[in-house]
């Protein structure tokens, strides 16, 4: 799958309070969350983002809270893929779990500026900055995560295994 769109570029340590401030967590509706996405650090984002745009950031993107509202807001805003120099652990899991593509690629993330034209091939991890005419290769996913993605995410993967009776759900101990 290819993602083509405009770059939205940010710095290091973009935290989950910046992605979606806690004052909006009284809802879990993705579209309502999207309307406030990034507003404390970039008021133009929520109104200006188009489907297929690419969010790029520096180190430790998504640090802080475990709120799944953060990747949900980014996904519902229309972002097709997040490329960062590195991701905070919980955000990375959450994004994978809900099917928001996340790629680790420091070189692409560092040179990008908001407004540039980006193209990302999710299968190969090839990232092209059409404005700068540069290409980059994202880090490959470990095989374990590839299996999860291929199965359609953690919920779908688990649902099939539950149907097949794979889990021992009658544990005791408490």
């Amino acid at each position: 799958m290819r993602i083509c769109g405009t770059a939205w570029a940010y710095g290091d340590h973009v935290d989950t309070d910046a992605i979606i401030p806690a004052r909006y967590l009284m809802t879990s509706d993705p579209h309502e969350l999207a309307s406030h996405c990034m507003e404390d650090i970039d008021k133009s984002f929520a109104g200006g983002v188009h489907p297929g745009d690419v969010l790029l950031a520096g180190e430790n993107f998504g640090c802080g809270s475990s709120r799944e509202h953060a990747p949900l807001a980014i996904q519902a805003a229309g972002i097709g893929c997040v490329v960062a120099a590195s991701f905070a652990r919980i955000f990375f899991r959450n994004a994978l779990n809900i099917g928001l593509p996340v790629l680790v690629c420091p070189s692409a993330a560092r040179e990008a500026e908001t407004g540039q034209r980006m193209e990302v091939d999710l299968e190969t991890g090839a990232i092209a900055n059409r404005t700068l005419r540069t290409t980059h290769q994202a880090e490959p996913y470990p095989p374990f995560m590839l299996n999860l993605i291929a199965a359609g995410g953690w919920i779908e993967y688990t649902r099939r295994r539950l149907q097949a009776g794979e889990f021992n759900r009658s544990r005791t101990g408490h």
Partner: protein, 433 residues
């Protein structure tokens, strides 16, 4: 193979094809391996449970894997701050009743989740605990592998009792020297985060050790484990000793697993950080990252509008005692609003019996029922544009406690109380002299 505490704890819960690992397989499970893990306890709160319940419904099972092992706590926007949060809490309450959850905690019988769960004896050494709250790592203080995850992971854990994990590498943080008066767990962990940086332990576990840690009371250990996530860590772990045992006595109803709950002496660490605390003063983290750490004396003249004492980081009885020791017989500065939030109903009761609540009220502080409210800018103490707070909470990101143009300085309870009296960031010594 010699193992870290993280490796041992995960190995003891890892499953392959529905069975636990054999002793041989356990002893060779090392960092970077991907494994599925059986969890002892699954936690969610009023912000994260509604999404977890939505995802749970997609899994096609009627019930949670064990109604005694799924814990819901209404603590973030409670007592309900508005209609929307009331609706969330109502959804959560309905699910808890339908599923017959043994441990559903609501207003008046609850507290802040990470103060409450250990207090209720729900976490035992050796456990694996996952929670849809990033500060779930608090339970590492008891020698449990505890980590925060998102609502989807928690939904799967609620249905199956299983999560996947990559076994983390470990950074050992060793504290030596003589801890000075007014230097507590908060100051130790802030200092460590200052050294590591907010992503210095990303994807890794922290293991706290050294003579200072061996003597540190359990409340200080909870504070330190709580903030492991602020260095990006997956867990913040303490080995189990007589301080752990004496905290657990009469609290936990579960047996401790056999074997020593400590790292092997020659386990392999990613790195080791040595910190001598003999000259360490109380610490303050400046806006807008927990790694911007300085000694209180180096902060300079910073006037403040609000002080918050409480939270899952510093809302325990020992924290309130420390704040009261400074506020007793003194008055909160006229320009400051000081808000004290005991971490649980039990902390509130004990603080009342000890006269701490009276001390706070006489000093001119507001005392609130337990809630996470102000820590995340939710309610009960939101900051206006340009306002500054000193807070014993765990995050000082831009806009964390309110307006994006407000500022949060993180400290322990002693500096927070001293600052409330002085009207500016101040050390306890300045106020007491």
């Amino acid at each position: 193979m010699k193992q870290t505490l993280a490796e041992k704890l995960i190995a003891s819960h890892a499953v392959v094809n529905g069975r636990r690992l054999t002793p041989d397989e356990r002893s060779t499970l090392g960092a970077d391996r991907f494994v599925e893990v059986e969890v002892d306890l699954v936690l969610a709160n009023d912000i994260t449970a509604p999404i977890a319940m939505r995802e749970f419904a997609k899994l096609g099972v009627a019930s949670v894997f064990d109604p005694r092992a799924v814990v819901f706590v209404a603590d973030h926007f409670t007592p309900n701050k508005d209609i929307a949060s009331a609706e969330h809490c109502a959804l959560m309450r309905r699910f808890a009743v339908e599923q017959g959850l043994t441990h559903y905690y609501d207003v008046g019988r609850a507290g802040i989740e990470h103060v409450l769960l250990p207090e209720e004896g729900l976490v035992a050494p050796g456990d694996v605990v996952v929670g849809a709250d990033s500060h779930t790592c608090t339970y590492g203080a008891l020698g449990a592998f505890a980590t925060g995850m998102g609502s989807t992971d928690i939904a799967v854990a609620m249905a199956t009792g299983i999560v996947w994990m990559r076994v983390p590498r470990t950074i050992r943080v060793e504290f030596t020297g003589e801890r000075q008066r007014w230097v507590g767990g908060k100051d130790l962990i802030l200092r460590a985060i200052g050294e590591l940086g907010v992503d210095g332990a990303r994807y890794q576990a922290l293991e706290f050790a050294g003579a200072v840690i061996d003597a540190l009371p359990i409340s200080g250990r909870f504070t330190m484990a709580n903030m492991a996530i602020e260095a990006g860590a997956k867990a913040g772990l303490f080995c189990v000793d007589r301080i752990t045992d004496s905290y657990l006595e009469g609290r936990t109803h579960r047996d401790r697993p056999g074997g020593e709950l400590r790292a092997d002496p020659d386990a392999v660490y990613e790195s080791t950080l040595h910190l001598d605390v003999s000259d360490l003063d109380p610490q303050v983290a400046l806006p807008h990252l927990p790694e911007n750490v300085r000694s209180v004396g180096e902060v300079g003249e910073v006037s403040i509008d609000q002080v918050v004492i409480g939270s899952c980081t510093n809302g325990r009885l020992e924290d309130l005692r420390e704040a009261a020791a400074i506020l007793r017989g003194r008055r909160v500065h006229p320009g400051v609003r000081c808000i004290v939030l005991p971490g649980s109903q039990r902390v509130m009761l004990e603080a009342t019996r000890e006269g701490l609540i009276e001390t706070f009220v006489l000093a001119g502080a507001a005392v609130s029922t337990p809630t996470c409210g102000p820590c995340l800018g939710g309610h009960m103490g939101v900051l206006a544009s340009g306002e500054r707070a000193v807070s014993t909470t765990n995050r000082n990101f831009r806009g964390r406690m309110g307006h994006p143009q407000s500022e949060v300085y993180l400290s322990g309870p002693a500096v927070a109380a001293a600052s409330a009296v002085a009207g500016r960031i101040a050390s306890p010594e300045e106020v007491l002299s």
